[in-house]
């Protein structure tokens, strides 16, 4: 076998592996660095108001509200680039159910997709129903390629816009989109810290726990129905609890002595990895959720914590201070094949493996002793510091499409939650109220 053959075979292998890890999707690294990456130019021509209905909140026209939410979703999708039709000198009048004659002009100027629709409310004063229609014009076929009709209560207006945005992403990428995803987080309530869940854009936050003490570090189940977290049920002991979002029902999964922290469910939901100090110092364990068998994964005098699963479910990344300050390590899911991943800096912790597999985000201490978000490839070959400036950044968590991260930061004074693209662009603060919001965890997509 010639050298060239070896190279080609290994190339084939790595392409194959990339396919497994990314499940056929675009590579975020290429996206971030390839200058020729083309987003799909999309214009939102407008969501007309029908029936003269006003939204209950702030007398803003319902259609305009939906349009605004939809545009924000389209922009954050990173699949589309949002085109402003008036900016191209194109003015559409009233929009019907068919494509507007002006759409063809927009198509000639390079717009690939135009969406429009209408929204209104029924006249039932007590319990009005919201209706929204959305249509999609595709420049390639020069016709309306499809649409959606939604109905629901006034409380789901944002969700309608999000659903439509996700349908657009689904149509053009085959991926479900992130507009209907949620972020679980910890919010200070008086002197207590409780679990909350909000939409991915920071809206519609809901309180999940009200224990009056500490609930920390939430993580989602793969089916989005449950959250596992660190709970201080009586101030003196920590348990790993699980809560069902729809019902608020609680389970205590792990109540060993000492620390029981940083739970993480495997991508198939069959294993719960967590750290516990019941055998001395903090070690990692894996609990088979079907057989309830617990396996110790690490054996070391140093503290091991913060496990995060590879999307394949076959490996874990974790933090350990076995070599002095905390560093990032990798191992197989049975605890074998442990190797150190980070060597730069004396403090690297809170790793989070990207759902696409190609990056691991973590908290790194910069040469200026600032705690920032860094990214590293699982082979350790590439490392990027994603955030900069003052403030303590913590708890990076990936969007299910691997294109964004959320994290907490004290950059603005109080700890708040921020979103950032995986290429470091579009830093956006998403929590604005409260004294302390932290530990964001992005839900899987559905």
């Amino acid at each position: 076998m010639t050298f060239r053959t070896v190279v080609i075979i290994s190339l084939c292998l790595s392409v194959g592996l990339a396919w497994i890890i990314e499940s056929g999707a675009t590579d975020v690294f290429l996206e971030a660095t390839r200058p020729d990456f083309q987003k799909i130019p999309l214009a939102v021509a407008g969501i007309d108001n029908i029936g003269g209905a006003d939204s209950p909140e702030g007398r803003i026209r319902l259609g305009n509200r939906i349009e605004e939410i939809l545009k924000a979703d389209v922009r954050r999708s990173l699949v589309f680039s949002l085109v402003d039709l008036p900016g191209l000198g194109i003015k559409v009048g009233n929009l019907g159910t068919g494509p507007n004659p002006e759409f063809k002009k927009a198509a000639e100027q390079g717009v690939s997709v135009i969406v429009w629709g209408k929204a209104g409310m029924t006249n039932d004063a007590k319990d009005p129903d919201v209706n929204m229609d959305g249509y999609v014009y595709d420049a390639g076929s020069n016709e309306m390629v499809g649409g959606k009709r939604y109905a629901g209560s006034t409380s789901v207006v944002r969700l309608m816009a999000h659903r439509f945005a996700d349908e657009l992403v689904f149509r053009y990428t085959g991926e479900p989109g992130i507009a209907r995803t949620k972020i679980a987080y910890v919010s200070e309530q008086g002197s207590a810290r409780e679990l909350f869940v909000m939409d991915y854009d920071g809206h519609d936050s809901r309180q999940l726990t009200a224990d009056g003490f500490l609930n920390l570090m939430p993580r989602w189940s793969p089916d989005r129905r449950f959250i596992v977290f660190t709970a201080y049920r009586n101030r003196n002991t920590q348990n790993i609890d699980m809560i069902e979002l729809a019902t608020g029902k609680r389970w205590t999964l792990v109540s060993l002595s000492g620390l029981n922290i940083t739970p993480a469910l495997s991508p198939d939901g069959n294993f719960l990895a967590f750290a516990s100090s019941h055998e001395g110092n903090s070690e990692l364990y894996s609990l088979d959720t079907r057989t309830k068998a617990m396996q110790r994964l690490t054996v070391h005098a140093g503290g091991d914590l913060s496990p995060s699963w590879a999307p394949s479910g076959r490996e874990l990344v974790f933090a350990s201070d076995r070599s002095g300050g905390p560093q990032i390590f990798l191992m197989s899911m049975d605890g074998t094949n442990v190797r150190r991943l980070t060597f730069e800096g004396d403090y690297n912790a809170a790793p989070a493996w990207s759902p696409r597999g190609n990056w691991i985000a973590y908290v790194c201490r910069s040469p200026k002793k600032e705690y920032k978000i860094c990214l590293i490839t699982p082979d350790g070959q590439k490392r990027v510091q994603l955030t900069a400036g003052p403030g303590v950044d913590d708890s990076p968590s990936w969007s299910p499409d691997g294109r964004h991260l959320v994290f907490s930061s004290t950059a603005g004074g109080k700890s708040q939650i921020y979103m950032i693209n995986a290429d470091g662009k579009d830093l956006e603060r998403i929590t604005f109220t409260g004294t302390h919001n932290s530990a964001p965890a992005w839900s899987p997509a559905s």
């Binding site: 053959t5 009709r149 002991t237 029902k249 205590t252 959720t289 933090a319």
Partner: protein
């Protein structure tokens, strides 16, 4: 030779695609938003603690999927946002009462906190003196239970600070035992950086938060 190489490449990639896709195929099996919750959890955490024998199934159910665009779309009823917190309003005030009781008892006993250097869980000379005085009181009150809470400043991750807080609490506890305090009178807990006494982003504040808080345990 060239043809052979590409022929080898195809099955490799194809096999990999199949592997990659097989994980998704189970997604569409179940549908329907409000699926039935699994069993109610028992295992409330006995004194010995352990692992629950009752864990709900969390594997993929693929609810709430997208249905795709349609030229003649039928109406989709949008539900959702159904999650409700089972808030226990009494719990927060109970916790506050217990914390106040602990603080009052600890102040009356004259127990003092021990402070730590940045990134460190070593007991300083000053810390030894504080713990020595605490030890005297604990030894002369064999009926009381004392808890050492490990706390950290806001720098670093929430998770690692829980580990560091435990190391601080353990260091203080171990020194108290060295001084002759009965181990059964002592317990530890780590709060990491989650219960700061001071919230400024400055060393003057950080140094107050890096502490082993020694309290008389009044509740469970």
């Amino acid at each position: 030779m060239k043809r052979l190489q590409s022929a080898m490449c195809v099955p490799l990639i194809f096999g990999s695609i199949m592997l990659g896709l097989s994980g998704c195929s189970s997604k569409a099996i179940q549908s329907g938003g409000d699926s039935q919750p699994a069993q109610q959890g028992a295992a409330k955490g006995s004194d010995e603690g352990g692992v629950s024998q009752n864990i709900p199934d969390t594997s993929f159910s693929g609810q709430d999927g997208l249905r795709g665009l349609d030229k003649n779309p039928s109406e989709e009823r949008v539900g959702g946002n159904t999650l409700t917190a089972k808030a226990d309003p009494g719990s927060a005030s109970r916790q506050m009462e217990e914390i106040r009781a602990e603080q009052a008892a600890s102040a009356a006993a004259g127990l003092r906190d021990v402070f730590f250097a940045y990134d460190s869980f070593a007991i300083s000379e000053e810390g030894r003196q504080v713990l020595a005085r605490n030890a005297e009181w604990i030894k002369s009150n064999p009926g009381v239970y004392v808890k050492v809470e490990g706390h950290c400043d806001e720098r670093g991750t929430s998770a690692y600070n829980l580990v560091l807080g435990e190391k601080r609490a353990k260091a203080a506890r171990n020194y108290l035992v060295e001084l002759g305090v009965a181990p059964k009178q002592l317990s530890i807990v780590s709060y990491g950086k989650e219960r700061p006494v001071c919230t400024e982003h400055a060393e003057s504040c950080y140094s107050q938060n890096r502490r082993g808080h020694v309290v008389v345990k009044t509740g469970k």
